[in-house]
Subunit: 187 residues, 2 copies
């Protein structure tokens, strides 16, 4: 739990009371590789802080498996639109490694938001950082060649690349596995 609170403390210092209320809303989870956190087509009722491990958010498009997002230690895994709207989404979440997670429910967050101003602020700041991450991802994807996208990912997330099968990296970058394999063979 300290890891999660270290993450939160980067965003805001909660009061003693808020911090305890927040801690009470957390649930520790431990699952093996391959475990499904969210079934595709379901509503995302929780978000997960990853203390240890690796998760993949994905969906099936035209019969093909597409990796939408990868989250490792000290970051958050969630099907963000489904969580915010509490509506079903095609995205599912699975574990690529055995993981230790802290889950927080949508209802739990709503209760905390209503009761504690500073947790409402925390929620806002978490979504802020989500927007910043999405914008960076978007910029990478928008105007760069397949090779450029791969090399940029190498620079910024090389540790994750070696923990994930090539096909998943390829669809994450918006290219085919064959193209990525060829890019890698060239340098």
């Amino acid at each position: 739990m300290e890891k999660f609170f270290a993450y939160i403390n980067q965003l805001i210092k909660l009061t003693e009371e808020s911090g305890q209320a927040f801690a009470a809303a957390l649930k520790r989870l431990e699952y093996p590789k391959g475990h499904t956190l969210l079934r595709p087509g379901a509503v995302c009722h929780h978000f997960y802080f990853i203390e240890e491990g690796l998760t993949r958010t994905y969906y099936i498009k035209n019969g093909k498996d597409v990796t939408d997002w990868l989250s490792a230690e000290n970051s958050i895994a969630v099907s963000i639109v489904s969580f915010l709207t509490q509506k079903p989404d095609i995205r599912g979440i699975e574990l690529l490694e055995p993981s230790v997670l802290w889950s927080v429910s949508y209802q739990g967050m709503e209760s905390l938001y209503a009761k504690y101003h500073d947790i409402e602020r925390l929620g806002r700041l978490i979504v802020n950082s989500g927007i910043i991450q999405m914008q960076q991802r978007f910029d990478d994807l928008h105007f760069a060649s397949a090779r450029g996208r791969y090399h940029r990912l190498m620079e910024t997330n090389s540790s994750i690349i070696n923990r994930v099968p090539l096909g998943m990296i390829a669809s994450y970058l918006g290219i085919t596995q064959e193209t990525l394999s060829r890019i890698r063979s060239l340098y």
Copy 2:
């Protein structure tokens, strides 16, 4: 101002006091076509609600002008990452039509957040809707052909398409103007 409050009321009902404080932080602006709201490379100190008109967020990449976002009446124009981080960003914002805007400063929002819990919630909900929009845009761009992206834009934003030069639509979709022109000639 009613238009802006109608927009806000879809997200949350502010208290009388909060509503008045928020209203006091608004500034009405009226500018001609071509006016620059934010210079590329500067820090985005304000966001703008568009009562009437059309704005374009753009940046220069490899010497080419890239349209990043288009916002029309009843929506918000902002260089989101720069606004949230208060750091410079390559994005600029300009008016594509004479426009009536309501601006809110970063500092103004911070003061309101600190004082009013419900405005902090409003801020969170506005960012939520921003992330949902970005995700939709991202999904469109990630796995669809140039033609598919154009047709989807036609379905969802046909009104904007006819108000914006083709080259700007093309870079918004991540394709060249020539390719878009050819797509359109085919149906």
